[in-house]
Every structure is written in C-alpha cells, then in structure tokens.
Symmetry: C2
Amino acid sequence: MIYCTVNGNLFDATKATLGINDLALQRGYGIFDYFKILNGRPIFLEDHLDRFYRSAATMRLPVGFSKEAVKGMIHELIEINDIPDSGIKILLTGGYSTDGFRMGVPNLVITHAPLPTYGSFQINGIKVITHRHQRQLPEIKTIDYLMAVWLQPYLEERQAQDVIYHDGKLVTECPRSNIFIVTKDNRILTPAKNVLKGVIRKQLLNLEHRYPVAEADLTLDDLYEATELFITSTTKNILPVIQVNDRLVGNGDPGPVTRSLASKLDELIYEIQHTVD
Amino acid sequence: MIYCTVNGNLFDATKATLGINDLALQRGYGIFDYFKILNGRPIFLEDHLDRFYRSAATMRLPVGFSKEAVKGMIHELIEINDIPDSGIKILLTGGYSTDGFRMGVPNLVITHAPLPTYGSFQINGIKVITHRHQRQLPEIKTIDYLMAVWLQPYLEERQAQDVIYHDGKLVTECPRSNIFIVTKDNRILTPAKNVLKGVIRKQLLNLEHRYPVAEADLTLDDLYEATELFITSTTKNILPVIQVNDRLVGNGDPGPVTRSLASKLDELIYEIQHTVD
C-alpha cells in the first residue's frame, strides 16, 4: 500500500478523496509541484518548495501549513512508503467552494509514486511536434494541462513523444519541460519569456560548463537550425530531441554538447543524492 | 439534504467525493454543462445535453451513459431534491488516471443547487472591466476557469461584477456569459469567433424581434461606442452592462432595446416553463 497525505493526514492513496465541490474539480483551479526522491533523499527540495509557495501566493491560495510542516509530511511519506527512487507531488486546490466559483480553504494533497522512466528515449532521443498555444499564467505551476492532455492522442497518431508550444513565431516550452537548443556556434539557449521556470533549467543556467547556457528569444527557425535540441524536467533531467515535425535535428542523433551537459547534471544530482547532511 | 449523483448513484451532496487521482483534480481536465429548472421543469434541456455530448466528444471523454439515462438521473434529482427554481450541473471528468496524466474512465457528477440571483444588478445593470485573454479550446465548455477565478479579487478591487476578454483588438466573451452590443443604428451584434456558444445566445439569434440579432467581429472600440451593452447566460438571462472600465455605456442606464429583448426572452422561458407536454 502507498500512503498519501490530505491536509496533513495519512491515507491509503487508492482510497483518498476530495469532496466534489473542490474548485480544482469544478473550475480547474489549483497549483502543484513535483520533485524526485533518489536514494531516499529529496532532490532540489528547497527550489521546489520555494516555487510551490510562490505559485500558491500568486494564485492567492494560502498553503495553510508552514514549509517545515510540509517537509514533515514529505519525510513521513518517504519513510512510511519506502520507495527509494520515486516522485512526490504536492497539490494545492482552490478548496471547497460554497457557490462553485469562489475559492474556499485550499486542500493540500501530497502523493508519492515510483518514478516514470523514458526507456530508450532517454538515450536515443525523442520526436516532438509543434503546436500553437500559450499557457495562461505561464510562470505559475498551475494544474492547467488541458491542452497537453487533449493533444495526447494527436501525438500518438504522429508518433511523437512531446509537443513544443509556440506563438506563431517564438517558441516557449513543452507542456511539462523546458526547451534548450545548441546553436551552430555552440551557444546553449533557452526561452526566457512566458515559460514555467523549471528547477533543472535553473541548475543548467548555473552550471559551470565549457559552453555557457543563456536565456534568449528563440524562433521556430532557431529550432529548425539548431545543431542539437533537448528538453529538461525533474523526471527527464536532459532528454535529447532528434526530430521536430518532419525535420531531423542535426544528423538525427543526440549530440555531444547534450551528452556532456547530461553527464555534468548527473554528477551534480549524484553528489546531492549521496551527500551526508 | 440535497442529493447529487456520481456515475448514476445518489449521494448526499455534502458527502460525495472523487478519488484524488481524477484527471480533473490533477490536470484540470473535464467538461460540464449547466441548465435551469423552473417550476420543476428543465429549461432548454435538449440544447444543453446536445452541447454536453458535443463537448465530451471533442475532449475525447466517453460519457458512458446514454442521453436518456442522463435525463433519468436529472429527473430523479428534480423529484427527490424538490427545489422548484434551481440549477443542475453535469460534470464529466478525465477519470482516474494511472499515471496522473493519461485519461481514465470519466466520472459523471450531477449536482443540483438553488439558482444564483443578481439582485438589483439584474435591473440596474453591472460594471465590467476588460482583460486580455483567450480561453483555450473556446468552443468547448471545459472546466478551465483558471483566469476567471484568478481575476475575482481584482474585479472586487475595481468594484466590477464581470470581465470581458479580448485579444488586444477583438472582444470575445465574459468568462461565463456571451456579450451583445446595440449599435447606433440599432443593430444587435455578438462575437462569432473564439467564444463558447451559449444557449441563451442561440435563443436570441433565433428570436423574432424588431431589430435582428447577428454575429459579427466586435472591437474594443465597438464596445465603447455601443449605445447599449448586455451579457447573457443561463442564470443571468439578459443582464445589462452600464459601464466598461471607466466609460459609461450610453447614458449609464440600461437601454430600451435591452429591456425589450429581455422581456421577449422572459416570455419565451415563461411559455416553456408552463407548457403542458
């Protein structure tokens, strides 16, 4: 049995429920964050909790528990569930609404599950398609994945593993990942505007590396002309992209810059995972 | 006690729940519809059910119950709850997801509550503000009201009762209502594109009236230059708008065309409500 917590109380995750008048269910109003547990240890937890509390504040959702209390719930789940390599999701909803529209007192739901894996895609890279869409309130990690879920069957039809959003000119992000390109002159660039600023993205922007990583406005043409392309997220770390729509990226294989960054990032995460507090 | 149904089964509405892994909660994925019960009789039920099944199909959510079965649940609630003037909401969620992202088998939740009323606003009209925003998948009645809920405190600050979305040039709709203007030459116009096509909107487009109601592209300037302005919805019928941002509409009072349309619509609904089948 895997446990979760609802407002600080432990439940069997398969039996935990929320009332039907919660504003997340009724109006899609809520925020969340998600981080990895490796070797029983949360990775980049402070970054994720900081972003969670920022998302909550911007959405005017009081968390109702201190950061220390939330950490307590997280460590309780890590201990009781004992899934060494796993992911924890903290979800804060709009709460029980009296009229189906106004916010109530937010519900805090923390769930814990094994990590998804990307199989051979992690090494060999994925195919993406592009879709014109701008996420609303993009810098907040809301539960709004309407377009992303809706596009799933279309992706499967096209045998693509992910989708890159753009506004007709500039590209922004994938539904659950940030985008990076490597240019002909070995600059590594990632969009700066109208994106959710991922924790792995932040790590890469701060990483010491032969080629500096920088923010820039990126067009669809920049994407097509990139020598390498990859996406980043908490579960994916660095995932190479080898095809955009019908065009291969470079020669259609993951490139050396992507591989070198991925191994740098792996080292960093390995260190965190094995550091003794 | 007010009852609701979850997948066809009756529950005390205050105790009805859904599991925390439903995709509506996790990813804001779901659709709904809402209609009025007057004098114990559903108003424009066929229109609402048709739209509900259309929304579901476009979102790739199988309803799992025939239209007749859903009508059965509706009539069961009308009878058992006995709230003569009320509203019924039919909600279809993305269902229990095994990985927090893929759709499951949708959950169908039908809730029943007294009608909201708009007090003196119904007669005297409301103030609206404008906000640049385009709802995603606008022609589907999804549960995505993230922006609308988020804007609530801002509306209260501005002492406005509603918000009109626009794209910088063209206006579209309010979060839960359609927009109509009356022009200087007495044309009644409503935006045609990128809006949810309301059932009251459809009734007005088909209504026999001295001034024909038509679809048109409307700019922000059209809004400011309108002699009258009103919004429509299932709960509001026709609600006059007397101020947009800092500008009065006409002389700041509900106008004669709005009043005449509202009384025509009231007549139509009165007839339905009292027709013997």
